[in-house]
């Protein structure tokens, strides 16, 4: 394709937007609405996942050892566990350190009657996981280690959190798929209408000797442009809504923000901008490309 034909095709794509402006506006509005909802869900889901993740960080597995296990053996086990992919952090607490902590927390200065460490068997490993859904696998592994006496875990919390995570993933996936289908349908309708409106022009093009590509390309460019505009508008709107909402909650409900820490808008937008743009361009391309192939027999 010649360079001037390339620019002509792009130009025609832009002009098509204007020639068919009510359908264009309707498509941009509907895609914008879909991507607005998508952006909103994306922000909410990301924040929920952030809350869940923050909660997950507090869930740990504690490992206790058989009587007579030396500190070297315990540290060797620690090194082995540390290599596991599920492990985010691991801390070793000796029996003395455990007793010191207990004294400080529960007994204050009243320790006169104790000559020996009553928590002599309580040296332990405190393990924090990358993902609580991996807890069961890690516990099974740890329980198979010879020197391990007991593994304490918060099964209910882990199951609830990982269940919530899965639910959020399914819900968001379902919503996104529905929105994508609606958007593709709408783009397809706009392009079909565009083809119907410009039937005479397309016929003339065919008689003059336009190639299939030359006839079809402006419609595909039009679809992509609708997708880009349709994704850019909700991004701008959500940016301001999100920023103001977070600022409002943090100001009015300061307590809430310590329990439920919100993600900053920049962090959300690092992912939301490329995803929304890709979806917008993707549905614009897919909707228009499939429609021209179906309805535009050149």
């Amino acid at each position: 394709m010649r360079i001037n034909s390339f620019f002509y095709t792009i130009g025609q794509g832009f002009k098509n937007l204007g020639r068919n402006k009510w359908y264009t506006l309707a498509s941009i509005a509907t895609i914008g609405a879909c991507l607005f909802l998508f952006g909103l869900f994306f922000s909410i889901i990301n924040n929920i996942q952030h809350f869940v993740h923050t909660a997950e960080e507090g869930v740990s597995v504690t490992v206790f050892f058989d009587e007579g296990t030396s500190e070297d053996q315990m540290l060797a086990v620690k090194s082995e566990i540390e290599k596991r992919p599920e492990v985010k952090e691991i801390h070793y607490e000796s029996a003395d350190a455990a007793w010191e902590g207990y004294k400080e927390e529960y007994l204050g200065g009243y320790t006169d009657g104790f000559t020996e460490n009553p928590l002599a068997d309580s040296a332990n490993l405190q393990i924090y996981l990358k993902d609580v859904s991996m807890q069961a696998a890690l516990v099974t592994y740890i329980e198979s280690i010879d020197t391990v006496r007991d593994v304490k875990r918060s099964e209910v919390t882990a199951d609830t959190l990982s269940g919530l995570n899965k639910l959020m993933a399914y819900v968001s996936m379902g919503i996104i798929i529905i929105l994508l289908c609606v958007s593709i349908f709408l783009i397809s309708n706009t392009v079909t209408m565009g083809i119907a409106v410009r039937k005479d022009e397309i016929n003339i093009m065919k008689y003059i000797g336009a190639t299939d590509f030359f006839v079809r390309a402006p419609f595909v460019v039009e679809g992509i442009l609708i997708g880009i505009i349709g994704s850019a508008i909700p991004l701008v709107i959500i940016y301001y809504i999100y920023k103001n909402a977070i600022s409002y909650v943090n100001t009015k409900f300061a307590m809430l923000s310590t329990i439920l820490p919100f993600l900053p808008v920049e962090q959300i937008y690092n992912d939301l901008v490329p995803i929304s743009m890709a979806i917008g361009i993707g549905i614009g391309f897919l909707g228009s490309f499939t429609t021209v192939r179906k309805h535009l027999h050149v």
């Binding site: 394709m1 003059i208 000797g209």
Partner: protein
């Protein structure tokens, strides 16, 4: 190869200088009698041919076959060496670039001005912008519309609109000009103006095929006349006249 013949793309020989060849062409639609029935027609380069006949005689089907909008049911069509029975889909645009087409209803783009309508034909065949800027004024001068290049289509008379359509058909320098009832929507003066332009174009070497009902023009111009009736050619004569059906 035999002298006076050239080889066409299907491998068979066609007479030298022949631009359109129909051999025993039949075109049937799903029901009823065939629109064209065993039609054979040979048109040489530079000829001016009128195709006349009543409605339903097969004229429009013939034009559609020549444009490769339709494929014959039987027989073979060769235009400018392209075997239209066998031409691949992706070669059709290249083939059509050799044809200029004018319709009764002009088929201009009403949202664009005269210049843009004519330039549109050059855009489609990917002519560089520099050349388009040079070619469009020149062809508009040929059809006496140089001063109206900025006018919108709905500001023009029927005759002017048909001249724009003619300019659009000619700008890519076609070898064959096909005109389907080009004067059907015009008054006698404008009809004559269009026909004179076509004659001038023909004198410059372009083969012209005109489908028409205009008896006065056909009889006055003394060109080859092919008369069709019910899908069959009933008369084909040099310097012919419009035959009365009755």
């Amino acid at each position: 190869m035999e002298k006076g013949f050239r080889k066409k793309k299907s491998g068979r020989q066609i007479p030298e200088g022949e631009v359109i060849t129909l051999e025993h062409v039949t075109k049937s639609y799903s029901s009823g009698a065939p629109a064209l029935n065993d039609v054979s027609l040979h048109v040489k380069k530079g000829e001016f041919v009128f195709i006349v006949g009543d409605s339903g005689s097969g004229k429009s089907t013939l034009i559609k076959l020549l444009l490769r909008e339709l494929v014959p049911t039987n027989g073979e069509i060769t235009v400018l060496g392209y075997n239209l029975n066998k031409i691949k889909h992706n070669k059709i645009p290249k083939f059509r670039r050799n044809l200029g087409i004018v319709f009764q209803d002009f088929r201009l783009l009403k949202d664009r001005n005269v210049y843009e309508n004519v330039a549109f034909a050059q855009r489609i065949v990917q002519t560089p912008t520099r050349e388009i800027k040079r070619n469009v004024p020149s062809i508009l001068a040929t059809v006496n519309l140089a001063g109206k290049y900025k006018s919108k289509i709905n500001q023009l008379s029927g005759g002017e609109q048909q001249r724009v359509a003619l300019a659009r058909a000619l700008i890519n320098k076609p070898t064959i000009l096909l005109a389907d009832e080009p004067t059907g929507n015009l008054d006698p003066n404008n009809s004559w103006e269009i026909m004179k332009l076509m004659e001038k174009i023909n004198e410059n070497g372009t083969t012209v095929i005109v489908v028409t009902h205009n008896r006065e023009i056909v009889n006055a111009m003394k060109k080859r006349v092919v008369t069709m009736k019910k899908g069959v050619i009933i008369e084909d004569e040099e310097e012919g006249t419009y035959i009365d059906e009755d």
